[in-house]
Subunit: 679 residues, 3 copies
C-alpha cells in the first residue's frame, strides 16, 4: 500500500500551478539576435509585443559567441538583446548552446566527436556531432552552462532555461573508444559480475561467453543477428547516457538559478522521457505537423504523449511557415498554423512558442519560414500569428493550469518499444501507429484518452489498454491484477507477457504471470507476412476486424470467448476473450491492435464502463477535447478539414475565441477552432 | 572412352548403402545440452526416444566450453550428455564448433576476423566472423578438431560428424591483408606466369596491365565496372578456400575416426558443392520452407539440388516451428512440418534431423521454435513430431538407400552461375527461379527430373536441358555432341556458348563449338528491359510463351524452325529450332527458359522420348515422386494445399503410412502425405 | 554597350569554318590497335575505308603501353598502327590516356588515388580512380601529354586530340588530405579573408564560425543538413578543378601541335562545360541512346545542350550495337544506329565517330558491341555502318559548318542547377526533364529552340524561357530588363530570383531585382509533395496544366493575369501573369515548367512573335530540324517510330540521302531519315 501512496503523492506533485518557476501561459517565438543587425532589434521587439509575445527563446546555438576561445566568455550581445526585449516586456528562455559546439572545441578535442560504426569517420560540419558519452564534452558543457547560469542568475528577464536542443534529433550513436568504454561501465554497474551478464544474456549461445569485460563492445552490424538482451541493454545505455548529459546541466542551472524553470525540447527517439522529465519543470515538445501527410491524429498523439511524461508540457517550437532543408515540406494552409497551435493547447499545453521570428537568410535552415519573411515584410503569417497571440493573451490565463481528465489509458512501456525496435518481426509493426490508431478512434468517438507510462499509477482509470507489452515481471503483474480486481477493465493485445525484463524467454507459460487473470494460456501463434490485413480477420460482435501481423491462439481455462478467428486453419477458434475477476475484467485480444480493433473495443467497453462522449452533435472528423480547472470546463473544438462543417454541441456555451454565446447549430469555417466554456 | 568409364565407376561409387559409416535411416533433432540444466537431460532423452529419435546432433557451437582457454580442452559435460542419451539408445552426430570461435581466440588473434571492404571494420559479436582464408584460424580449427576427434575416436555412441556449420550462410567475403595475399596465391597457382594472367584477363584494357603480383587485390567497389574474368576467378577462389577449410577438418576426422561418417550442412552461396561433396560421406541440407511464401516447388528444387551433389543426402536441420531472429516468419500450419519432412525424403533424403528440441530462452535464436516450447510443455508440435518419428521408425529401413531415377536432367554449371552473378544483365534474371520453373512444370506433369552438375555424366539421360550455359569448351562440346549423336535430346536456352572458361569472348561464331550440332549460328540478340514478359513472345506449336529477358536471333544452316518470334521487328523469324543429328536432336530455344517454356518443352519432348508420367489420376498440384530399391518402387504423394484433394492412382497400392491398401479413389486431407508401394 | 559588343564578337568567333584545325566532316570509329593482333590491322583499315571512315580515335587508354615504366616512353605500336591507317587515308584523333593510369603509377604514388568519404578506401581496379585535385597526378599527366604531343607534333596523320576521356563519367569526389587542402585553397582564392567567408556563408548558424582556414573540409555526410552556400562552393570547386586538369593538357598540346584541333568528350555531371569549352576547338558528346527507354527527345536535348557550349560539336562516341557491363541495355533496332547518328547531325554535329570498330573480347566492355562482332564477321551492323558512312561521304561536306538558327531559347545556369542538386525540394524536381519537356513540345510544334548558357548573349532571341533561375544578381537582372525593353518575351518559371549568388536569401522582395519587370511580388508559395501533378492545376486560356511541384502566389502590381490556380485555397488567384514593358513582355509562370506548360506557352508566344513552324505537313512524332549555310537550308526529317509515317512537306525539295526529288506526299519507313534541300 505504501508504494501506491507514494505514487499518488508523486502524481499530485506533478501538477502544481507554479512548478519550478513556470507560472503563466507563455506565448512567444524563437529568436536569434546574433544573426541580425543590432539596428533591427528594437523594431523586432516592438512588433513582437504588438503580436502578444511575452517570451522568446534565445541563445541555443550561439556557443561560438559565448565562448569565442576556450575559457573566454562574453555575453554583451545577448545582454543588449535581452535589454531591448525587456523594453517591450518580453522575457527570455535561455538555451544552453551544447547542441552546436564551436570549431575550436571540436578541432582541438576531436575525441568529443561522434564516430561512425567503422570507428573512423567523424566530422563537425553541422550540429549534434558530439557524443553524449564523452566525458571531455560533458566537461565543456558543464563549463559553458555554469558560465551562462552564473552570468544570468537572478536576471529579472531570464525566466527559464532550455537545456541543449532536440536531444537525439539526429541519430547519435557513436562508436569511438570512450563510447565502448562507457557502455562497458554501464554494464558493470548493472551486472556487477561478468558471469551474471553471461547468464542473463545467455552468451553460451554461439560461444559468445565473455572472459573479460573488455571483450564487450557496442553492437554493430555483424555477420549474423545480435542477442536481443544485448540490444535492449544498449538502448537502455543510450537513454541513460543522454539523461546523464541532461541532468548535469540541470543540476548546475537549478543550483545557480533556483527560481528559473528548466526544460528541454523533444520529442525524439532513443530517450526515456519518463525518466528524463523527472528533473524537468515542464516538458517541451517541438510540433511540426507538415512532416506528416495527414497531421491531425499524429499531432494529437504526440501531444498526448507529451502530456504523459511529467504531467505538464509546453510547445517550444511550433511550426509557423513552410519548412525544409534540402527537402521542402508543403506549406501550412491559411489558418492551419493557429489551428495546430490550438490543438496543442487543447491537449494540455501550457505555453506556445513558435519557430521562428524572421526566416534565416543563410545556412541550413533558410527554408524554415518564420513569422516574417526574409524581406522583413509582414504578410499573412504575421497577421495570423498576431491574431493567435492576441487570442492567447485574452484566454491564456484562464486555461493555464487546467487539466485533461480521462477514464481511459493506453499503457506505454518504452523498454518494450526498444525490444520491438530490434525484434521488429515484420515491417508492418509500428507501435507509434497503434497509438495513433487509438487516438483517432477515440477522437472520432469523442472519448478522451491518456497515454501513460507503465510506471505511472494507472489504478484510477476505468479502462486500460496494453499494446505490445512483451516483457513482464511480478510487480507489474500484481498491479494489473489489482487493477482488475478493483473493477478495472484491462485489455491486452497479442504476444503479451512472453519474456522477462532481461528480454529472455522463461520457463513460465504465456502470458507469464498473467494466466489466471486472463483465464487462458497461449498455445501457439502465427505471424502474417506483409500485407497482413487481408490474411485473416477477427469476428468481434458484428465487426470483422482485419488481423494486424500477429495471431495468438489461446487455450481457454476460465475466460469467455468474445471473438473468433475468421479464416484459415484456426477459423472459429478464440481470438478475443474476456475473463471476469472480482469486480473487473481482463480482455485478451489475440492480434496487435489496429484502428478497427481500437475503435470496436473503445466503443464496447466505454459503454460498459459508463464513459460518455465529451460532447454530442459533433461530426467524427471534428476534434474535441476538454480541459478542466476546478469546476470549469473548457471545450476545444477544432476543424482540421478544408471544408465548412456544421456542429451542434447544444446550448449554454460561451465562445471564448469570439466572445459570444454559442446556441445550438454552428458552422465551423475551414481550420476554425473554438474554445467553449459552459455558462 | 577411358574418361567416361571413370565417371561411370565414380557415379557408382557414390551410391553405396553404407558409405563412410552412414548405414541406416537417421531420425533426430538438434540438441544443446550446454544450454540446459543437467537435471533436465534424462527427461529430454526419454521423451526423444518416445518420439522415435535415434540420433541427435550436438556440440556445433560449444567451442567456448570445449576449449575455455587456449590449449585447454574439456569434454566432461558432453561426455555426460552422450551417456545420458545412450541410455535411451540415442546416438550422436558431433559438430565441430568452428563456426563460432570463443572470445579469447578472436580477441587475442584479431587477424582471424573477417574484414570489411574498407580494410578496417571487423567484429566478433555473433558467429561466422572469421575468414576461411586465415591460416591462423585454420590452425586453431585443426587443433580443436583434432582434440575432439581424438577424444571421441572409437566412442560407440558417436557415429558421425558435422564439420563447421552452414558454411557461407552469412556473407563471408573478407578484405584483410591475408585475404588479398591468399587470393594472389590462388592466382599464382592458377596462372604461374603473371603475363599469362594479363593475357587471359585482358588487362591491356583500361591500362590494368600488372607488372607485379602484389598489384592484384580482391575486387571491391571501384569507380567503374570490373573485369568479368577477375570476378569469375574471385568466385573460384572463394569456393576453393572454403573447401580447403572443410577438407582440413575432414582429413583429421577421417584419419582418427575412420568408421564415422562425415558431412556438413548447406545449402548456401559461394560454394561449389559438387567439388566439396567429394570428401563427404553424405551431403546435408538445412530445410526451412517458411523462408518462402510458397515453398512447395522451391523446397523440391533444393532437394533435387541436394541429391545432385554426390548422390546421397540427409536433412540436418528441418524446420519444426515458427522461425525468426529480428524478423519472424509465418508459422507452419498443422501438418506442414511433417509434410515438408516427407517431401525431402520423397526426393531422396536418407535421414531427417529436426531443428531443434526445445526452444532457446536466450540470445539470437529465441524465436526459432523447436519440438518443445520454452515452457517445456508438449503441445501440437510435439505430437506431430512424435507421429512423424514413429512413421519413420516403421518405414525408414525399407526406403533407406532407395534411389530416384529420372530420364530428364537440367544441366547445372556453378561457374556459369558465377558469371551471371556479376554480369546479371537485368534484375529479372534468376537462375534459381529457372530451376524452380522446371521443377514445377515437371511436378505438374508428373515427370521426374534431375538437376545434375555439368561434370557429372549425363549420357544416360534421354533429355537434357541446358539453361544459362554461357561458357563452353571443346571437351564439354564433345560430350554434348556425343550425347546427341547417341540419341539424346539436348535443349539449350538463349545465349549458350558465347565465351570460353576465361569468361572471355573468342574469335569463334556463337554458339561456339556448337554451330554444327545446333545447325545454326547466332546473328544477334536483344535484351528486354524489365518487365520483359510482356515485351515479346515465342510461338511454339499452339503455345504463346512469354519472352524471358533475352532474345537470340539465329541464322539457320541445317536446323528446322519449330518456333518463331511473335512480335517486334523480328516477328516471324526463328525463335526455336531443332536439329536432327544421327539418332538425336539438338534444340536451341532463343530465350532464357521460364515456367511456360519449361512446361511446353518438357511436354513435347517427353512424349517424343516415350517418357510417361509417374502416376496417372493425380491433380497437378499434388506432388508425386518415386524412389526405387531393387525392383521395389515407393511412390510419395504429397498434398501441399490447405484443401482436401481427390486422387485416383489406380489399384494395387499398399499405403505404408496408414498400413492399408489403397484402391482407386482416395481423398487426401490438407497436408496429408502417403507412401504407396505397388503390391 | 561595349560589353555586348564583345559578346557579339565572341559569338562570331565561335563559329568559324576552321576553328583550331577542325575543318571538315569527320566520320569514323574508335579503335584499339593495342588489343588486336597486328596481323589484323591492315584488313581493319581496309574495311574502314570501304565504309567511308576518314578518321579514327586511338590511344586513350594505353598509358600502360606509352609509358611502361616511369619516364620510359614508347610509341612504336601506335606509329605502326597510324601508318597502317594512313595507307587507307585514315587520319587519327589521339587520346591522352589519363583516364586510366598504369599500375606502377598508382601503386608507387597512391596519393593520386581518389579516397572515399571515410578518408581510407581507395583502389586502382578499374578506371578514373585518380583525383583531379592531386598535384602529383597532374604532374604525371602533364609529362605523358608532353611526351605524346612532342612525339606526334607535326605528324601529318594526327589531326586532333581528345584530352582524357569522359571526365567525371564516374562520380569523382575525393576526400583525401590533398583534396581537402585544394578545396581550402580554392576558397582562400575566392574569399581572401576568412571572415568574408564566415559572413557570406552565414557560419554564425549552428556555431559553425571558422577561426582558421584549416577547420574547413569538404562536406561529407554529417549529423544534420549542410549549409547551401558551402555546397554550392564545393560544386564550383569540383568543376574548377577538373577544368584546371583539362586546361593543363590543352596548353601543352596547343603549344606543341598548334595546327591540331583539341577536344574532350562529355557529357557528364559536376562540370561547367560553358567554362571548359572556352579552350576547346570543338566540343565532343558521347551519344548512347539505349540508356533511355524512349531516347528521341532525351537525345535531342543532349544534342541541343552540346551545341550550346561553344557553338560547335561533334560526336566522339556514337552507340553502334548493344551495350552493357554487368547490366545489358536493349539492342538498337535495325536502322536506329544511323537514325540516331543523323539525329545528332540534324542538331548541328559536324562530325560522327562510332563506338567502336570491333567488339572487345575481354574485360569490362566485352558487351559493348561495335561495328564488327567478336568473330570479326560483318553482319547487319556492318552493313548499316557502311551505308551511313557512304551517305556522309556524299553529303558531309555540304552540311559541314551549317548552323541551327532559332528564335527561342531556354536559359541554362549551371550554378543554379547545382543549387537544386543539394536543395532538391522533392524527388520530383528534375531540371534535365524540364529541358526535355521543352525540346519535346518544340519538336511536336516544329519549332526550333536553343538552350543557351546564362552568360551567353540572349538578346537576339525573340522568346527566352528561364526555368529554375533561383539565384539573381543586378547585371543579369539588367540584361533581362534590357531584353524585354527591346521587345523580347521573357518567360520565367516559379521560384525565380529568390537568392543571391552566395546561395543566400536577401532583404529584397521576391523576385529580387525583378519586381518591376514582372509587375508583381511573390507573396508566398506551396510545395506539393509527390506525386504533385494531380494536386492542383493552372487554368491558362483553355488549357488545364498540371502543377509541377511548386506553386508561387504572386501579388500583382502592374501585371495582367493570364492564368489562375484551379483548385485548393488559392483557387482563382493568379498563376500566370504578363507584364508589358516598353516593346516587350515579362511573363511569370507560377509553377515549375513541365511538358504541358512548355507546349502551351511555346504555342501562344510563338504565334505572338510571328515564329512559324519549320515545315508543315509533318506529324508531331516526326522530328524536323533545319541547318542553314549561307542561303541554303538543309531540312532533316527523322522517323523515330517503328511504324511507317506519311509526311507532306510540300514540293520543291531535293532528297540528299536518296538523290531524288521529293514532291508532296512521302512515306517514311520505320527509322528512316531524310535530308531535304529546297531546290
Amino acid at each position: 500500500m505504501k508504494k501506491y501512496f507514494i505514487i499518488l503523492i508523486c502524481s499530485l506533485c506533478l501538477l502544481p500551478a507554479n512548478a519550478g518557476g513556470y507560472d503563466h501561459f507563455i506565448f512567444g517565438v524563437c529568436y536569434y539576435p546574433e544573426h541580425w543587425p543590432e539596428t533591427l532589434w528594437d523594431d523586432d521587439a516592438r512588433r513582437m509585443q504588438e503580436c502578444g509575445v511575452n517570451t522568446v527563446r534565445i541563445g541555443e546555438f550561439a556557443w561560438y559567441y559565448f565562448e569565442p576561445r576556450e575559457g573566454e566568455y562574453q555575453f554583451d550581445l545577448f545582454d543588449r538583446a535581452i535589454a531591448t526585449l525587456a523594453k517591450y516586456n518580453i522575457k527570455v528562455i535561455m538555451g544552453t548552446p551544447t547542441a552546436a559546439p564551436p570549431k575550436w572545441l571540436t578541432q582541438n578535442y576531436p575525441e568529443v566527436l561522434i564516430v561512425d560504426p567503422d570507428g573512423l569517420k567523424r566530422n563537425d560540419q553541422t550540429r549534434q556531432h558530439t557524443s553524449y558519452h564523452s566525458s571531455k564534452y560533458r566537461e565543456f558543457c558543464a563549463k559553458i552552462t555554469r558560465a551562462m547560469a552564473t552570468h544570468y542568475a537572478g536576471h529579472p528577464d531570464v525566466i527559464g532555461w532550455q537545456i541543449d536542443n532536440e536531444i537525439y534529433c539526429h541519430a547519435r550513436e557513436s562508436f569511438g573508444p570512450e563510447d565502448h568504454e562507457e557502455f562497458r561501465r554501464f554494464l558493470m554497474e548493472r551486472y556487477r559480475q561478468l558471469d551474471t551478464l553471461n547468464h542473463r544474456w545467455g552468451t553460451a549461445f554461439w560461444s559468445q561467453w565473455y572472459n573479460q569485460w573488455s571483450q564487450i563492445s557496442i553492437p554493430v552490424v555483424s555477420s549474423a543477428y545480435h542477442n536481443p538482451a544485448t540490444m535492449l541493454d544498449y538502448r537502455r545505455f543510450l537513454s541513460w547516457s543522454a539523461i546523464r548529459f541532461y541532468n548535469l546541466q540541470y543540476d548546475i542551472i537549478h543550483t545557480l538559478c533556483p527560481d528559473d524553470f528548466i526544460t528541454t525540447n523533444g520529442t525524439f527517439g532513443y530517450l526515456d522521457y519518463y525518466e528524463m522529465s523527472k528533473k524537468m519543470d515542464i516538458y517541451s515538445h517541438d510540433n511540426y505537423p507538415c512532416f506528416f501527410a495527414k497531421p491531425q491524429y499524429r499531432a494529437a498523439t504526440m501531444a498526448t504523449l507529451s502530456r504523459s511524461y511529467n504531467g505538464r508540457y509546453m510547445i517550444m517550437e511550433e511550426q509557423t511557415g513552410t519548412g525544409g532543408q534540402s527537402y521542402l515540406l508543403r506549406s501550412p494552409r491559411p489558418g492551419e498554423m493557429s489551428l495546430w497551435a490550438f490543438q496543442m493547447i487543447a491537449h494540455g499545453a501550457d505555453g506556445m512558442s513558435h519557430f521562428r521570428w524572421r526566416t534565416a537568410h543563410k545556412a541550413a535552415e533558410q527554408y524554415w519560414f518564420g513569422v516574417l519573411d526574409h524581406d522583413n515584410i509582414p504578410r499573412e503569417r504575421f497577421d495570423e500569428f498576431k491574431k493567435e497571440g492576441l487570442q492567447l493573451k485574452s484566454i491564456g490565463d484562464q486555461i493555464y493550469g487546467s487539466q485533461i481528465h480521462s477514464d481511459i489509458a493506453i499503457l506505454r512501456n518504452i523498454e518494450n518499444e526498444w525490444v520491438y525496435d530490434y525484434q521488429f518481426f515484420t515491417k508492418e509493426i509500428s507501435i507509434t501507429t497503434v497509438y495513433e490508431d487509438f487516438i483517432r478512434a477515440a477522437s472520432e468517438l469523442k472519448l478522451q484518452v491518456d497515454i501513460t507510462g507503465i510506471n505511472n499509477d494507472f489504478s484510477n482509470y476505468k479502462i486500460v489498454f496494453a499494446p505490445y507489452l512483451i516483457m513482464m515481471n511480478k510487480p507489474l503483474a500484481e498491479r494489473i491484477k489489482k487493477f482488475v480486481s478493483n473493477g478495472g477493465i484491462f485489455i491486452s493485445g497479442a504476444h503479451t507477457a512472453v519474456k522477462d525484463y532481461n528480454n529472455s524467454m522463461t520457463w513460465l507459460v504465456w502470458p507469464i504471470e498473467l494466466n489466471s487473470i486472463f483465464g487462458l494460456t497461449i498455445n501457439g501463434f502465427n505471424c502474417y507476412p506483409p500485407p497482413s490485413s487481408n490474411a485473416n480477420f477477427i469476428r468481434l460482435g458484428t465487426d470483422s476486424i482485419p488481423v494486424n501481423v500477429f495471431a495468438d491462439f489461446p487455450k481457454i481455462t476460465t475466460a469467455q470467448i468474445t471473438g473468433t478467428w475468421g479464416s484459415g486453419y484456426m477459423k472459429g477458434t478464440p481470438a478475443c476473450t474476456e475473463n471476469t475477476v472480482n469486480k473487473g475484467k481482463a480482455i485478451y485480444y489475440c492480434s496487435f491492435f489496429n484502428y478497427e480493433s481500437a475503435r470496436a473495443l473503445l466503443k464496447k467497453y466505454s459503454v460498459e464502463a459508463n464513459i460518455t462522449p465529451l460532447l454530442n452533435g459533433i461530426p467524427e472528423t471534428i476534434e474535441v477535447t476538454c480541459r478542466t480547472k476546478g469546476n470549469t470546463k473548457y471545450y476545444f473544438i477544432l476543424n482540421h478539414t478544408d471544408e465548412q462543417v456544421n456542429i451542434n454541441p447544444g446550448t449554454g456555451f460561451y465562445d471564448l475565441i469570439n466572445n459570444r454565446k454559442i446556441a445550438g447549430s454552428y458552422t465551423l469555417q475551414p481550420h476554425e477552432y473554438l474554445v467553449l466554456k459552459p455558462e
